[in-house]
């Protein structure tokens, strides 16, 4: 009886291990394949059976990529600039707003808060046409600020940091600071901000990745190649039949690399950040 039970558990385990390994393979393979193809020459790419290992043509592919798209590194720069600006401004305005909602009592606080939460349910597609029109009125079409200014004080970020500040910063500290003559903004800047670094890191990661991968917004407002961010730049490669897949894959690989490197070193924190984020989005 006991032996039988043990056997049952182990077949169960085998099935479980089979499932998790298969799914991990399916998940990792396309990424591996992208990096592999980025190193292959056209004859190697168009071959049956496929060449499954890295080859030596990365430099050639990269040169072809740069020839087809001289603005590639400029796009990389644009992406970095937009993501950094989005992250810094969002962290500032959201921590300020979250601080106010967490640490002060003021008239209409609850109503204002609920209103803010309610704005989160507005779907992206509803906003996309007005977003375009607004940007053209402001003269922000083809300007990078069109990509980060509208979201600088996101409701999601304020909500996230409000929760964090409420749990991490005791109110007594603020009273003590006030007695010492600290102004309200200085309390925020000198006392609260240093105390909420983990919360800021969480939100920062979510915002940075979101901005890095933003496609629809960039597609709508960016028009000239010099202003393209990476997603739009990569997309523009697609229609050019003269560019081989190895070159396109090397571009895709380079665009993923920064996020991949950060992810390898901080996977646990990043996953935690997204879970902290999603639990609130609903």
């Amino acid at each position: 009886m006991k032996i039988k039970r043990k056997l049952g558990i182990s077949t169960n385990k085998i099935i479980q291990y089979f499932i998790i390994t298969l799914l991990a393979t399916i998940t990792i393979f396309p990424l591996y394949w992208m990096f592999t193809l980025a190193t292959q020459s056209p004859p190697e790419i168009f071959r049956a059976p496929p060449h499954l290992w890295f080859s030596t043509s990365f430099i050639n592919n990269y040169q072809e990529l740069i020839k087809a798209m001289p603005t590639f590194w400029r796009s990389m720069g644009n992406s970095i600039y937009v993501a950094v600006m989005a992250t810094l401004t969002t962290l500032f305005f959201c921590s300020l707003g979250g601080y106010a909602f967490a640490m002060y009592d003021f008239k209409y606080k609850n109503q204002l808060f609920i209103f803010m939460i309610a704005t989160m349910v507005i779907p992206v597609t509803l906003g996309i046409i007005p977003y375009y029109i607004m940007m053209s009125w402001l003269g922000w079409l083809d300007k990078l600020r069109a990509l980060y200014v509208p979201g600088m004080a996101s409701a999601f970020g304020i909500f996230l940091l409000r929760q964090y500040i409420a749990s991490a910063v005791p109110r007594e500290l603020m009273d003590a600071a006030r007695i010492d003559g600290c102004g309200e903004f200085r309390i925020y800047w000198n006392i609260v901000l240093p105390m909420i670094k983990p919360g800021l890191a969480t939100l920062g990661i979510v915002i940075f990745v979101g901005s890095w991968n933003n496609f629809l917004g960039a597609l709508v407002v960016l028009q000239s190649k010099e202003m393209f961010t990476l997603p739009v730049a990569l997309r523009s490669l697609q229609g050019l039949y003269t560019v081989n897949w190895g070159a396109i894959m090397s571009g895709a690989a380079l665009s993923i690399l920064p996020i991949l490197i950060v992810f390898i070193f901080a996977a646990k924190n990043i996953i935690g950040a997204f879970i902290a984020g999603t639990g609130l989005k609903g």
């Binding site: 996309i128 046409i129 029109i133 229609g239 609903g282």
Partner: protein
């Protein structure tokens, strides 16, 4: 309380008005500071949220080609909505979106739930972390890059997927399971209307199942071990544990995750847009409402029609979310009533 240093400092030879302002500020800042701190959100929302959205509602009753400036706007009443409701392209794209919601939404959850359960069982910690990280990574990868990778994977003659399927169909070990595919190989994933939706669904499932898995895993981790322990004492198998403990207790998270899937997939844009080269694909069979909306607004500059479409889509999303709420919430409440 406000014998503050700044008012003393201000007295040092600064102008009287500055001191007055400082006094006023010190006395009142506690009252006004919070409003000032939260104001950026409301100001930005007015400019980039509320006003434009109201304008788009206004626009949906007009005919307007963005190129002509505001003066070319012309009131057409409900004509845009009437047009859309009788437009086969709109209904077609709605149908595509709905089919994609099902075939790319359901598998995500059917994979994610048991997978999260397995991850939550006694696996070595390192392995667990490695697996969670691998499943999660696609979620933070740019959709454009993903869609480009899959464009090569779906290649007709030399795409790795077709080569794999051919291998499986021919190999004597696996032909019993894959032999039936032999006649349709190689599959023209992106070039034939019938295959475009499955191809898009494969990419979407690949992109999102890990996110759902991690979400469910975080839900499972708060379920007390005692429950499983007690069940095991009573002779429950893993299957029983999954079906009778994990699943019912996860219901609120399932509701949340399914809601997110509905809202996201009803607006599916990036994956089909790249995979079909921005057109919607052969026979428009990969054209979702979001792509049709984009093309109406930016390829054909029919801003009024596009605005009307965005409002119709919004309504449809609300209806679907409410249906989901009715179906899943009911279960949760009943369970509590027991």
């Amino acid at each position: 309380m406000n014998l503050s240093a700044s008012s003393l400092l201000a007295g040092k030879g600064k102008r009287g008005i500055w001191q007055k302002w400082n006094n006023w500020r010190n006395k009142n800042q506690l009252r006004y500071a919070p409003y000032l701190f939260i104001s950026p959100f409301y100001i930005l929302f007015l400019i980039f949220g509320l006003f434009p959205i109201l304008f788009s509602l206004f626009l949906s009753f007009h005919s307007w080609r963005a190129v002509g400036g505001l003066s070319t706007m012309e009131w057409v009443g409900l004509k845009n909505f009437k047009f859309l409701l009788s437009d086969p392209w709109f209904w077609g794209s709605l149908w595509n979106t709905f089919i994609l919601l099902i075939i790319s939404g359901l598998p995500q959850h059917i994979i994610a739930l048991p997978l999260a359960f397995i991850l939550n069982s006694r696996l070595p910690r390192q392995l667990k972390q490695f697996l969670s990280a691998s499943y999660f990574f696609p979620y933070i990868t740019s959709t454009v890059a993903i869609a480009l990778i899959f464009s090569t994977i779906f290649g007709l003659r030399y795409g790795i997927l077709n080569q794999l399927l051919e291998f499986l169909a021919d190999s004597s070990f696996t032909s019993w399971a894959f032999g039936w595919l032999d006649n349709s190989l190689p599959i023209n994933w992106l070039g034939k209307a019938v295959y475009i939706k499955p191809a898009i669904a494969i990419v979407v499932v690949w992109h999102w199942f890990g996110w759902n898995t991690i979400l469910y895993l975080s839900g499972l981790q708060v379920i007390s071990d005692d429950l499983y322990e007690a069940a095991r004492v009573d002779g429950a198998t893993s299957w029983h544990e999954f079906w009778y403990i994990s699943l019912p207790l996860l219901k609120p998270i399932i509701f949340f995750a399914v809601t997110m899937t509905i809202i996201g997939n009803m607006q599916l844009f990036d994956e089909p847009f790249i995979l079909t080269g921005g057109t919607g694909g052969v026979g428009r069979s990969g054209m979702t409402v979001a792509i049709y909306l984009y093309r109406t607004a930016f390829n054909w500059t029919q801003m009024g029609v596009a605005a009307a479409m965005s409002w119709l889509l919004f309504l449809i999303i609300i209806i679907f979310t409410l249906i989901n709420y009715a179906v899943l919430r009911k279960g949760v409440l009943e369970r509590r009533g027991e």
